[in-house]
Structures are given as structure tokens and as C-alpha cells.
Symmetry: D3
Subunit: 322 residues, 6 copies
């Protein structure tokens, strides 16, 4: 069985398949052409340098493809890097499906789909349930395949559905603890809140922002989908049901500076915003801690307002305390 | 012919009709009931106090009605105020239409409607022209009657259309001066940019925010209308035409802190934002200067970030320099 | 059985006992002395005016005492107010215990104490468990009696313990959902995080900030208690156990602008901060919604960054969806 | 006829004259000396590298001179760059005037001078007209030659006058549309507002900030010139004419954080500020769009608060709509 | 000898002379005319109410005049207030000079003038010394009489010179402690830094902002004076001496948001800014502590970013520690 | 006698001892291993490059050691740099004490210790004097040896004590000038304010933040020491003496955003904050000016909010003006 990229040691010879996430053809200051690559499998993403790139390589090797590489694992500025000796596209009989090399959510698509269905049943308000069904149905596959971000938190295939379900689970705990919460509204808005990302982002492999994503943003994009659904389903857009659902989704970034056109003015909107922050924070800490040794501080994290975070040495996790 | 409210002098006896903009029944600290009123005609809005309000008055006199008053004009904390001696609803044969007492835009509705039609013809892109026609048609009357704000700039009947036309005029000057501007996009977005106010606000008399206005806001409300129009007209929502039009409208507040979910990333969006600020600034200065004597500073203006503004003594206006 | 203050109607004659929360002796502009009172029982707090206050009343009637009043319920600027006709301290045989008139947490002290004990057992790290026991023991009674704030969220007797338990419950849900969380650290810090309020505030009745509270603040005050406890228990202050516990408590306001001398750099510190915000938000929304009619917006809420919040008309609560 | 720098293709041999905008002598990490150059003609500015720089080259080749180069056009990190093979100063008979290599405003100096004269005639207030004449006369040549900035908007020879005229043109449109504007004040302040840049910047070639520019800034520098002019012309500094003119110029950055010691408190000051922002925005967008392919986003733009901007694919310009 | 205003007790009958700092004629809500007064002597400023003001009183009694009053000392909302029974202008033979009633700096004018002269001699750079002499000479009397502010810190007659000297004294301590400071520059800029206030403010009695003060501000006003002086004295405005002096004065507010058009970029400019803040802070704390009882907190102080400050009970001052 | 590092010229051969402040083993892009070094003696810190580092060198050469080097002085990107030809640890008989190579405060340790003792005697309040003695005694050596920062202001051995004494000296000038200052409190707090740095930082050589420093911060760390001292000395923690001392120390960063959990609410706390800023500003300017030629601007300084600072050409220092 093949080794993963993470398993190779410093100075070890690498001979494997990988997904080419990006490639840039550059010149050295002295004018020689080389290729700067990002290579990935499910264990990690690693930079690679192919010096003295040939014309053929430059024209053939494209981002999003599976490649075969021979290389040596080195380190550059404290980070692992591959000195790529040879690179070629894979052939018939070799791995060719990019999604086999993309890290994925810890749940299976099918399980996530089933759980979503179960939650929809808990939405007792008919209007909200119909809207959620309609919109999730329209984007069923993308919802289960897309990441929740280009990079940072939940940037893996299936990350969108996984992040959505995390929030629904937290929402269920909140509903259990506090009496005065409208569970239907909270679940409906939680299921829809980030769905605009299926239009904002390009897809699960080599994820980029789309033009629609940059010019409109996922918050308004999903609001538009809700409005179109309501029109299709003949639900009155000016009814309170529709106003509070749109508000709860629109306000989920909490602050206007973060792109919500309105601040949360309904209790369920405030809860959704807080749970979104909590779950994003969990993922951002986990990302940071993965790169950090016990007893040390991480590099500064853009997704955490530029904080570094500390990984305690002598700390154990909750399994023991259950 | 009747005097306007503004024409009465200090201590003069007032006997006239007025629109009752608001009424609150209060108690003095000693426990006597009185009515605090806002009365208006086209010349001004003035506070009034009806001491010792009777049960009948309290139950009958409602905001939004035309009333007949007898009063004395006084001043309280440097501001004019009426001591109302008697107040009653008007009867058949007396003025009863509230809109006769509301200040209005300096242009006639009909003239504004015609000018809007002429501008639509200058939108040479068919998609944008059809969208603008469709949406303006749907809200034709409200567009011509609504104010552009609850208070502050353009808070008068017809203010929405008037403010819109001011911006279109400035846009025409910009198009003339700078070569690389897409006039069709700029005019289309200018005509639509504030149209969500016909849903955000309650109407031209005794204007309040609606629930939809507070929970969603006029920026997203008009975006939803554009999306519905495109669907109805079978124009592809993901076409560049539709993306840049929605973007230009969504970004017109310029900053996310001011409620735009995206910042202007298209040149025409940036122009629209700047012209909106320029026209709003003109109105805010005019409002402030109206209350200010030459050679003095106005009270601080909320609409101008709390600035006071100065009214020069020896300054004359542009007629002379033409 | 006596009516509560809330049950009296407008213009009804009031004859009851109440807690005098504050009293100020003032002059009218015309120079007459009167007393402005705040009166409370568990149903509400209401302003009162005692006109023509006598010397005896002024010298005898003090905040924090139970009084007997005769009054008429009126309204002033839309708010209920009592015109107090007579006021006197209660005598033997009449109610005299202020805590009988203070609103209280929805849980009994004894139940809260037991639950806290149960949670302490879930702290499997011996150092943290000993610290928590030591400090909670030292302030046992105050912890169960104090409010969590002077006003705003959880400003009722027992509010401190109740708010603490709410956060522990949410923490338990988080521990259950996410694998990589140190439950012991999270529970220990959650139990201690606001305990400095027993020094910061004056007590459950007529709550004020103490001098120590204003000059030092509850965040540093509890850190000092932890340090003193560790010294007493001979636990090394420089051990990682002690550093991460102090950090988690110190960082719980999340931002330095909100008084935390450090931002959360440990995952459990970030969780505690988020849960603190979530629970405070729940209480602030409930406070706002209590004063609001269905289908209307609340007045602006200081505790919610000056937002008004909306109370939907047609919304039902989670009981139905369980 | 010689090719411009822009016309050379990748890998093409370059043999041409150029202006040397800047030169830095550096070492490679291995300790070899080389020269990093900025070379320009009117078509573009391009980086160049002269490896193995000789002592003679280092001492002779200075910024601001016209040079002859032989080079190869390459690309480094996606940007065009010249590998310079030989470089020498030009000799008699070859081009030697730096201004022949500097990009310039789209209007001729003479035309701009004439238009300025025409506008001065529209200033009907004698004091303002005399001040404007005096100060513009004093800096006549520099006003027509200087750029409006070191880099960013209007950073080309004649840019200062061109930017000034753009604002005057917009001001004329504003005067035409709004009745209550003092045109004389607006034109006078517009003509003077950025004139301090002739002291703040070093000149049209290889533009740098002067010491006076950094320590005082162009806003105060032009205010000082106005004050000196008034003294020379015996116009009372404390007259309202002089106060409002100085205010209008001083306030043109709009906010104190942007270097205006006062915010606009006069209507014409507010207009000037808005028009300045509008014109700067036009230039910043044009700069960004020049580097951007249709259907793509630009790199982030410092001059636009770090936004990227979008260049639509299918958009046409205003010629069609005229 | 007459009692000062401060010496009168609650309910005591007052019969004295005072300066009338301001007067407003108002109506009660019931429509009766009264005068709201601010009366002052050197001991304090106190509000007064003259109910039932006569026509004669209203037309005769003006701010800035010395008046004779008969009144009763009362309290309104915890603050002392006079119920004025009679008020009239003083006559020949009675006190008539307003400055006798204004609180003054703790130093005599003459002493301040002498000390300023002594410091000028310590400015060893001839250009700076000549500029300082010229400008201080031009505004000699105003410099010694004006307050340093309308209200807040140093708002007493002579406050400008006194604040200036405080800063010079601190500057002397800094010069003594740190070797690398240019004392001449620091002293010259310290003497001039706030001198623009003689134009910004109206004078020592009933101090208001002038139009020039509001539209231009004291920072630019004094820079203009320096420029005029240099021109008169034929000192080159572009010399480094003049640039650093102007910079040091212009930058003394430290931040552009506080009205300095440039931030301190010269060491002496930074020192002057810090000392200005230190001295202003001392005065603001003293103002706040004067209104505060030992062991209590002051009301929130606008001049201290809305802080309340604490007055310790058991604290003694530096005399003991000398 | 050996030359210092600063005395070597460009291209000169270097043969000397130095402290190795840091070392990083890196790869060139082509995959060759080299060592990037920071070498220092008391004259300067300089970068060094040891190309083709051997295994032996990599394993032996560690930060914090004294080394012998042979090298050539070069320049890289305008900064001096050593091309290291050979490097080895020093042996017996050669210099081996790192502190001999660290730049130090301009005062001797012994002199600083004596001056601190003298100041302690000026603290006339017994509680404060005992606390200061106790805490300074506990950390006596570290207080005299530690720097005041990792980099930036006072980043030299003994810098902590030196910065502390600078502030005490300024405090003495303030006490002399202003009457109402409690000198004992100010001196006690000044002596303690930065003492937490002996826990926050790792020591005088190769200074890093400790885990305690990052997670708790020096402000709270010293507060904890004060609390422990008071407990040990049986001084009541809730006494006003202890509250105001802790407050004054806790508030010395002035703003919560800068890490003080409370803003200065006591006059002495405000003074300490201002003096801390003044002294830090002096050091930051001196650091910037050391790298700057007369008549030029420094690079932007992180420690001065990213300002560049100007070094005047023709300016002389205060010796002349004394």
C-alpha cells in the first residue's frame, strides 16, 4: 500500500501519486523557468519545486489533475517542501479521480443526507419546512460535496454539510436548555444559512470564489434562493414567517462589518450567529493546533484575528472525563 | 387665504387647519393628563401641548388626521411651540386630505414620471432596460409618492423619485466628463438603488419603518425585486449582466458598516455610491442651514456625523455667477 | 393574599408592602422637596414620587428597607409610576426581610449547590478540582446569593450561580459534540469565571459596584483568588495546570477592549468566552422581549449594542417541536 | 521609429532609451553586487536587473537620467522584468530630457492654462479672485507640470492641473443642478485645494516627498500660501471671505484622520470634498482596471482600501449611449 | 467683607454681586416666561432661576455684566442652585469689572510674563528666538489673559499662559534627564503651541469659540502666525529651522483624529505632545476630584473619555514626602 | 585590543568573538543547507550567513553561546551582513560568558540598586513600602538584569531597572511641580509597574516570551505578586491602600486595548501611564534615529504606530542650552 505524503521523512525519496492543486510557472531572478506546485493527498498539502521545467511540462501539467511524481522531501523556511525530480499526468490504470485526493468531512455523504432529512421533520412550521425542502433539494448534491470555505475552517469536501450539521446539533442543545426558543425557525435557518456557498464557491476541488460569490456574496445569494422558492411555492413574501426566516439567515454574520446587511434582531437569529462563531472557532483552533507541538505556540492565525494559540503539553481530552 | 403655521408670530393667536403627525397622551409629574402633539402644514412642523386633555379628545384625536386648532404660539427652549386651546377633527366641507399638508418635492409627480421614462430610453442594454421597466412599473405610484427617508434628507412626499432623479442628473454629468463609464449600467442602477424604500417605509404620511424594512432593509429588498423580475422575464440570474446590476445596487452604501453586504468592486458601483453621498450631503446641509441664522453655526446634525455647520453672512448664490 | 405591584391597574389605589431599592431627595424647580423612589417586589420594579416629603420621612426612609405604601398607580412618559400618598417603614409583625422582595433565579439555592457539587466531581484533574473546591468553598454563600450583574443580564438574586450553571450545561453539550476538548479545564474555568463578582458587587439587594469592583474588576479579582488558593494548597503557580486555568478565566471576555488582559489562546478559553456571550445574549433578549408586545420592536437595548429587537407575533416555542 | 517598452514581447531582445526612475545597488545572498532598476518611458514602468554591476556603472548611473539599455524581456512572479545586459548614460545627440519619458496628462499644458484662466473669470468675488490669481501665478509652471501624487491617482506629469480641472468640471455640473451653491467659493477653493503639492512633492520626474511635504503636508502648505497672499494683497485675514476660503481648502480631505485639521462645516467645503473623492476614485479604478483582464478581478488596491475590483467582460462604454 | 457664593449654605438668603456668565429667557411648559442664569464669582459658578421675569429684566440683563442679586440657595438634582428673587445691573460705586469675578490662574500675570521672558533667553537658536519674541509680542496681553479652553482643563483667566508655563517646566525636567533633546526647539514650540487660542476663543470672560476658531482651529491659526512672522523677519520658510518648528507646533495633538494635520515625526514634537497630555490630564483629574467626596467616584468626565475617577479617602499629598 | 563588530568596514576580513543570539538551519531553494545567524557584541547585532553548513556545525552551534568567527563584512539590501567562513564554539581560555556580549543599560547594576533603595525610603506609607521591599527583594537579581522588552524600547540587559528609574525620575519632577500628588503611591507603583517582566520574559540573553508571559502577561503577573506579598505580610487585601496600589499598577497601560484590565481612575495611575508612554517614546525615537542619517527619514517604526521619524540636519542638543 502506498505511503501518504505525510509519512515521508526529511531527505526521503518520494514516488507517489498526488493531486496538483495549483501550478505557477515562474522565472528565477537569473531568468530560468521553473514550476511552483501545490501537491496534495488526504494526509496533507505540500509545496513542490520543479526546477528547469521543460516546455512540454509547462503546457501539459495543469491544476486539478492527478499526477505521478518522483521527488525528495526537504524543508524550506521550516516548512516541508518537495524537490520534484519528475512529474507527469497519470494514465489509464493509474489514479485519475481528483476527489480521491481531497480531504473530506468525518461523516459519509449518505449519513449527512439522512440526518438532514430527520431534522427537516422537526421543522413543524409548514412554510419553513417547504422552503427548506425546496432549496436543499435544488442544491442537493452541491450541499453535500462543497467545502464551507476556500481555506480556513471546514475547507474540505463535504465541509458545508458537516458545518451545517454541527450547528444544528448545537442548536438542539440550546433548544433543550432554554425554554423560549422557536426550534423550527432555528433549525430552518441553520440548514439554510451557508447554502449560498454552493454559488459563491467553485466546487470541492481547487476551490475558488466565483464571480457571483465575489460580487454578491453567499449571504444575499441564499436570501435570493429563499425568495425564489417562496414565489414558486406561492408563500407570501411579506408574511411574518418569510420575514423572520430571511432575517435570521441574513443576520447570521452578526455584524454589518462582517457582511450581514442587518444585525440580529430576533432571538433565534442571535443564537444562530453565536453558534456559527462557536463552530468556526472550534475548527480554526483545530487547524492551528494541528500545526503546533505540545508546549508551544502556533504561528499567528488569520482566521483567529491574528492570534497565536497555545497547545498545552499535559492536557488530555474529554474521553477520560466522560 | 389662510396663514401658514410659519407665518404666525410669537404670542399670536392661531386659528387654522393642520395635519396631526403624532400624538402622545402623557401625565404631568403631578398626575394630570395632557396631549403632546406634532402638527404640520407645508410650511413647517411644530410641537403643540394640549393641557387638561378630555377623555373625548384622547379617544378621538389620532395621528394622520387633519385637525382644526385654536392655539397661541409660544416658544419653549428656544423652539416654537403651540399652546393648544382647542382641537377637533375636521368635518365635511373642511380640509380632510392629509397629503395637502405634507411638504413635497420641488417637482411635480407627472414631470418626474416623464423624466424617468426618458432616462429608461437611454439604457441601451436590453436586459437592464427590461428589469428597470418591470420593477418601476410594479411600484410606479409608490415610487412617485414616497419620501426617501423617515426623517433627515429627502424626507418629503415624492422625495424618493426626486432624490433618484438628482442622482441620475449627476450621473449624466459624470458620463459626459469621463469616457470609460458604462452609462446604461449607471442609469439602471441609479433608478433602482433606493426603490426598496417603498417596502421599507410605510408611506408618505406619518412615515415609519415597516417590519420588513427593519428586518431586511431596503438594499436587500430591492435586490430581491430584481431577482424576481429577472425570473419573470426569463433573464439568466447568473449572467454577467445580472451580476453587475445586482452588485451595483447592493454596494451603493459603500461600506459594509453602512449596510451594503459588499463594497463597490465595479467602477459604476463606486460612482453610484459617491453620487448618493453627494446628494444626501446637499440635502443634509440644506436642512441644517434652514434652521440657522447667517453668521451662526447650526445645532449638531445627526445626519452629518454630528457636525454643526456654518451659514456665511456675506455669501451669495450661484445665480450671480452664471 | 396580597396583590403584586404588577397586578395593579392604571388609576387603581395601591396598599401594599415593597422593597425600597433607592431613594433620592430632590427639589422641584420651584423649590419644593420631594422623594423620588424605586420600589420593587418580585413582580416588577416601579418608580414612585412622594410629593411634599416631610423631614421625618426624609431622615427615616432609606434604601434597602421594606416599606408600607399607599399610592395611586399612574403613568409618566409611557412608563408606570406610583404617586405615593404615604410611606413608612414596616414594623414587627409585618414583612421586613428585603430578600423576600427580590426576584430570584428560577432554581432553588439548594438545587444549584448540589449541581455544582456534581460538576466538581467531573473535574478529573486533581489540581483544578482542589482549586475550584477551595475557592467556591470560601465564597459559598455569596456565590449562591449574588446576582450576576448590577442591571442587565442575570440581575437577580442567585443569578451568578444560575448563569454559571447555564454555561456549564452548554459546556457539557460542547464536550459531547467535539472530541478534542479538555472537559476538566472547561468545567473548572466555567465554575470560577465570574466568581470575582462576589467581590465586585455589593450583594443581592440594592446592588452596587464596590470600590474593589471598580478599581480592579471581577476578572482580576478571581485570578487573585486562584493564586491565593494555589499558594495555600501548595500547587506550583508556574505549572502548566495553573497557567492554563488562570488564562482560561482571564480571557473569558474575549477581547481586551472588554476587559480581558489577554485574548483566548487556548481552545477551552475560546469556548468559555463564546458560551458566556451566548448565555448573556439569551438573557438580554429575554429582558428586551419581556417589555415588548408581539409584532413590535423593543426600545434600544444598551446590553445589545443599542439594537432594538423584534418579538414575532405568530411564533411558538420549542415545546411543540420536542 | 523606436518601439516603446510595452511593445516588446517576452524573451525579445530590447535595445532602446529609457528614463532611469530609480536605482539600488544590492548584494545577492551570496555576496555579488547587482543593480535593481526602475526604467520607464511613456508606455510603462518596468523593473530591470543588471547582474554583476561594475564599479563604473555603480558610480555613474543615477536616478533621473536618461539611459541606453540592451536587455532581454522576461517575467518574474507574473510581472514583466528586464534582464539588463548593458546600461550607459546617453550622450549628446541622443535623448537626454527626462520629461520626454514621463507619462503625461491627456490635455496639453497650454489648454489647461487657458481653461484655468477662463474659470478664474467666473469667480465674481474680488477677494477670492485676487487670491487665486496671486497664488496660481506664483506657482504657475509647477502647477502645470507636477503630478497630483507620488504614485496612485493622477501620478503623471500635469496630473495636478488635470485633476484640478476635473474637479472644476464636476463643480460646474453641481452648480448647475443645485441652486443654493456659491459658485465663486467652490471654484476658488477647487483651483487651490491641491496646490500645496507643488511644495509637498519634488517635481514631475522621479517624484518623492520633500521634507516640507512630510513634515507639514500639502493641506497646511497651501493654507500658508493663501495667508501670505492675503497679507501681500492687504485683504483682512479675519474677514469672512478669508475664513471660509481657508476653511474650504483645509477641510477638503473630509475627515481629520485623513489629514484635514477641520471637518467640512460649510456646504461648498463638503461638495469639494465629495468631488475630490469622486475624481480620485475614478482614477484609482482606471489604474486598477488597466492591469486587469476582462472577466477577472484586479490585485488588491491600496488606493481603494485594499479592495480588488472587477472588470466586466461584456460591458461597453458611454459612447454608445450618448 | 462679602461672602463668596460658595460660602452660602443651603436655604440661606443670598445678597451679593456676581458676574452674569449667561442668560436664557425661557417659557415653562405652561407658558410663563423665566430667566435661566449662570452666575459666578471666583469661588464658583452656580445656576440661578428668576421666575416671572419682567419685560424690563429681560431687555436689560445681559451676559457678561456684573449684577446685584437677592436669592435663596437651594439644590436641584443634587446640584446647588439659586432661586433669584431680584436681579439688577450694578451702578456706579458698585463693582462693575467682570474680570474681578472670574477665577484666575494661580500665578500673577506679571510673574508669568517674567518667566516667559527668562525662558525665551534659553532659546539659543536665533531664528526660533526671534519668531517666538515676534509672535508673543504681537499677542502679549491676550496670551496672559486668555483661558486655555472654553470649559474643561485650564478654563480660567490666565489659563493659557499658566498651562504653557506648566509644560515648559516639565520640558525642563525632560531636558535635564535625557541627553539627546534640542532644548531650544522644545521651549520655542512649547511657548507657541497653544497661542492660536487667542484667536480661537473670544476672551477671558464668557468665553466662546470664534468663527475663526471653529472654521480653522487654533493649531493652524498659530502656524499661520509663525509663517507671517517669518516673512516679516525675512527668515526662509523652507529652511529646516522653520520646517521643524512648524512641524513641532502642528503635531502637538499627537493624532490626526485630534486635529493635528501631521503626527509627531520629530522627537521634540513627540515630547511636546506627551507633556501636553500629561498637563491636561492633571487639570482634568483636579476638576473631577474637586466635585467628588473622599472614598467616592466622580460623575463621568467628558474630558477623560467618559471615565469616572476615584478620590481615595486615606491619601495624603506630596508635602509629606518632600 | 579587539575591534568591535561595528568597527569593521565593508569588505573587511573579520576575526573575532561574538555572542550567537539565534541560529536557524535553512535550505536554499536549490536544496543546500545553510545557517542564518544573528551575531552580537555590545556594539551591534548583525546577521550572518554560513553557506554549506556541515552536520557538525549544525549539531554543535547553538543560540546563547559565545562563538569564534572568521568572516567578511558585506551588505545585503542596504543592511550590513557577515559572510561567515568559519564558526566554532569558544574554548577554555577564550571568552565564554554571554553577558559580556550583551549591550547594557547606561548605569551600573550597583548604582541602580542603590538608587532604588533611596527611593524606597521616600515611600512614607508603611504598607506600600513593605510591599515594594518584599517584591523587589524576591526578584532582586532579575530586576537588575532583565531587559524591559524582547525588542523595541529598553531591550538591553538592565533595561528593566533603567526604564523603571527613568520613570521614577520623571515622577519626581511631577511631584515637585504639582501639589496634589501622592508621591508615595506614585513611587511605589512606578517601582513595581513592569516587574512582572521578570516572569514574562526569559532573561537578559536571547530574550523570549515565556509561556506564563504569553498566557497571563506582565500586568497581571505583578498584580499576583503584590497580592501574595500582602498575604504574606498580613496586610488587608481589601484595604484602600492595597486597592489603589493594585489599581495604579494594573492601569498603567492606560487603555484596555493595550492590556490594562482597567483604565486609570486614580490621578497617580494616570500620571504613571503618561510617564510610561513618555519614556517609551524617548527610547523608540532614539532607536529609530540611530538608524537614520541627518536630513533623512527613518524606515517606518512598528513601535511608533508605523511612523517614520525625521532626523534634522542642523540641530544640536541640550548641552548647549544648559
Amino acid at each position: 500500500m502506498t505511503k501518504t505524503l505525510k509519512e515521508y521523512q526529511l531527505d526521503e525519496r518520494v514516488d507517489t501519486f498526488a493531486l496538483l492543486k495549483s501550478v505557477e510557472v515562474r522565472m528565477t531572478q537569473q531568468g530560468k523557468r521553473y514550476m511552483a506546485l501545490q501537491l496534495a493527498d488526504r494526509s496533507m498539502t505540500i509545496k513542490g519545486m520543479k526546477w528547469d521545467a521543460t516546455e512540454a511540462e509547462v503546457s501539459e501539467i495543469k491544476a486539478g489533475k492527478v499526477v505521478h511524481i518522483q521527488a525528495v522531501r526537504q524543508a524550506y523556511q521550516d516548512k516541508p517542501q518537495l524537490k520534484v525530480l519528475s512529474i507527469r499526468l497519470t494514465q489509464v490504470g493509474e489514479p485519475q479521480d481528483p476527489t480521491d485526493f481531497v480531504s473530506a468531512a468525518p461523516m459519509q455523504k449518505q449519513d449527512m443526507a439522512e440526518e438532514v432529512s430527520a431534522i427537516i421533520l422537526q421543522i413543524t412550521n409548514a412554510n419553513w419546512q417547504r422552503i427548506v425542502r425546496y432549496v436543499l433539494n435544488k442544491y442537493h448534491d452541491a450541499f453535500l460535496q462543497f467545502p464551507a470555505a476556500k481555506s480556513n475552517h471546514h475547507a474540505f469536501a463535504g465541509g458545508l454539510a458537516y458545518h451545517t450539521l454541527s450547528i444544528v446539533h448545537l442548536a438542539q442543545a440550546v433548544v433543550k436548555q432554554y425554554e423560549q426558543v422557536n426550534a423550527s425557525l432555528l433549525y430552518a435557518a441553520a440548514l439554510l444559512h451557508d447554502l449560498g456557498k454552493v454559488i459563491e464557491l467553485s466546487g470541492p476541488v481547487a476551490t475558488q470564489y466565483t464571480t457571483a460569490g465575489s460580487l454578491i456574496g453567499h449571504i444575499v445569494l441564499v436570501d435570493e434562493e429563499i425568495v425564489l422558492a417562496a414565489t414558486e411555492l406561492k408563500i407570501d413574501l411579506q408574511s411574518e414567517d418569510m420575514l423572520v426566516l430571511r432575517h435570521t439567515v441574513l443576520a447570521h454574520h452578526g455584524l454589518m462589518e462582517y457582511g450581514s446587511p442587518v444585525r440580529p434582531m430576533i432571538k433565534e437569529a442571535n443564537i444562530l450567529h453565536q453558534l456559527d462563531e462557536l463552530d468556526a472557532g472550534m475548527q480554526s483552533f483545530d487547524n492551528a493546533l494541528e500545526q503546533t507541538n505540545p508546549g508551544e505556540f502556533s504561528p499567528r492565525q488569520w482566521a483567529l484575528d491574528n492570534r497565536s494559540v497555545y497547545k498545552p503539553e499535559n492536557i488530555s481530552f474529554n474521553s477520560e472525563t466522560d
